[in-house]
Amino acid sequence: MSIDRAAVTHIARLARLRITESDKEKLAGELSDIMNWIEQLQEVETATTQPMSSVIEMALKMRPDIVDDGGKADDVLANASETADGHYVTNKVIE
């Protein structure tokens, strides 16, 4: 499977990456190589193999339903470039 320039442009847009025209050709080649490698991997027979979710045998850790966090709006907003009245502030976004 090959990735063309249009696909690179689409992926970059979804990932919010700014990519120059000259880089697109190079990335299309690299991404195509990756896809080809994945295609090759898919030749391996895995029908009877369970997906491996962890390298160690352990169960998902769970928390009890207790409120033990929050109440730190100042910390949460500490790195915001702009705030007002306890909110993050960004340029207007309406779809």
């Binding site: 689409h10 979804l14 919010r16 997906p51 979710s53 962890s54 352990m58 169960a59 998902l60 850790k61 769970m62 928390r63 009890p64 339903d65 207790i66 409120v67 033990d68 966090d69 929050g70 109440g71 730190k72 709006a73 910390d75 949460v76 907003l77 702009e82 007002a84 009245d85 306890g86 909110h87 993050y88 502030v89 960004t90 340029n91 207007k92 976004v93 309406i94 779809e95």
Partner: protein, 488 residues
Amino acid sequence: MSEQLIDGQTGSWEIVVGLEIHAQAITQAKLFSGAATEFGAAANTQVSLVDAAMPGMLPVINMECVHQAIRSGLGLKAKINLHSVFDRKNYFYPDLPQGYQISQFKQPIIGEGCVSIETEEGGIKEIGVERLHLEQDAGKSVHDRHPRKTYIDLNRSGVGLMEIVSKPDIRSAEEAAAYVTKVRAILRYIGTCDGNMEEGSLRADVNVSVRRPGEDLGTRCEIKNVNSIRFVRMAVEIEARRQVDLIEAGGTVDQETRLFDPDRGETRTMRSKEEAHDYRYFPDPDLLPLEFDQALVDQLAAELPELPDEKYARFVANHGLSEYDARVLIDDRETADFFERTLTDGESKRDPKIAANWIVTELFGALNAADRSIQNSPISSAQLGGLLDLIADGTISGRIAKEVFTEMFNTGSDAGMIVKAKGLEQISDTGEIEAIIAKIIADSPDQADQYRSGNEKIAGWFVGQTMKASQGRANPGMVNKILKAKLK
């Protein structure tokens, strides 16, 4: 026909609807953090560093969210998956600090189930449930505080949602509304979602398409975030009509996300297909698969309260209620509980049909007029029971009871106290009634003669006079009997 066909210029069209309901799980803390879920707090005060997606923070699942999803799945008669997986759904929006929503894609916690709804003709129709999965809610964007800025509050970010996806089994706006009503009722019965659509704790995305009856599915449009049952009904009707008009004018329906504007009564393009999101789902590497034992499912099933359908069946079979009364009473759990408490609160057991009748007609009427819900009814179930006892033992007549009821509703007093204070006890003393009747007959010789010469209809006039003379307190059954004897 429960199916609602749309008449177009070129023939009939069938509506096909599928719904995604987002129901906020009732829990103290969020799905993956220990921050509170309570509605209406000051901005960003219920946010942990996990919810704000600070680097290095890791999600830890709240087990109560898992329990709530399992309970809901049981209520939807659905398959509970003992193994499920969390995925990342990737998109950019300022109120989604992670840049992805943790959701479940290929392997949801709950599989196929079904919900039965009542059709307009009174029949029952099963609507398939495709799945229920757990996911995080996003934060809230406020667009109206500043002309060029958007304000963001992350209090809602990370709150646990149960997304319930129906199969495209719905064929009319009414069915869509009935389905949402029923799912909401089930979740409220079980206590897994408060169903408050105004506060957004239950909202629906409505997928609508049209087709010629019997043909393959048409292209669908998704109408986002419809936040009342009335709007669900309106959105289906308006969108289906738009699609029919479009196709008949020679156009084609584009698969797109639309917005419902109730003020203008229209749906509008929100995002077209070209801008459609490609979410690039993949398993979240921060989370292991969600696994639990059948024993947990069995335990939660054993604790489940009686559900609306079962309660309905019991009310009809055991209490002998009419289908209408049963349906109205089971509509929400508080009403059903009020009814059952009315039967048993206090010393005696009461007739269920009479109790149902008083609740459905008198109490609902008064509550509606006063714009109150049954939870803050001025008349408690015990007090209503007390009124029913006074009717049952003949202390007051049914007519006087309505008067007493109004007084109870306005003052909150017990029926017995009102009856005593106002001297409303029914007169069941034979001598007293005979005296009243004797006087009326003596005062009205003409009418008495008419009766004796065969005009039995005039008896009604005598009953009226007797009731009037006794201020409505004479026992009607006895009045009839004594009148007949005296007029001979």
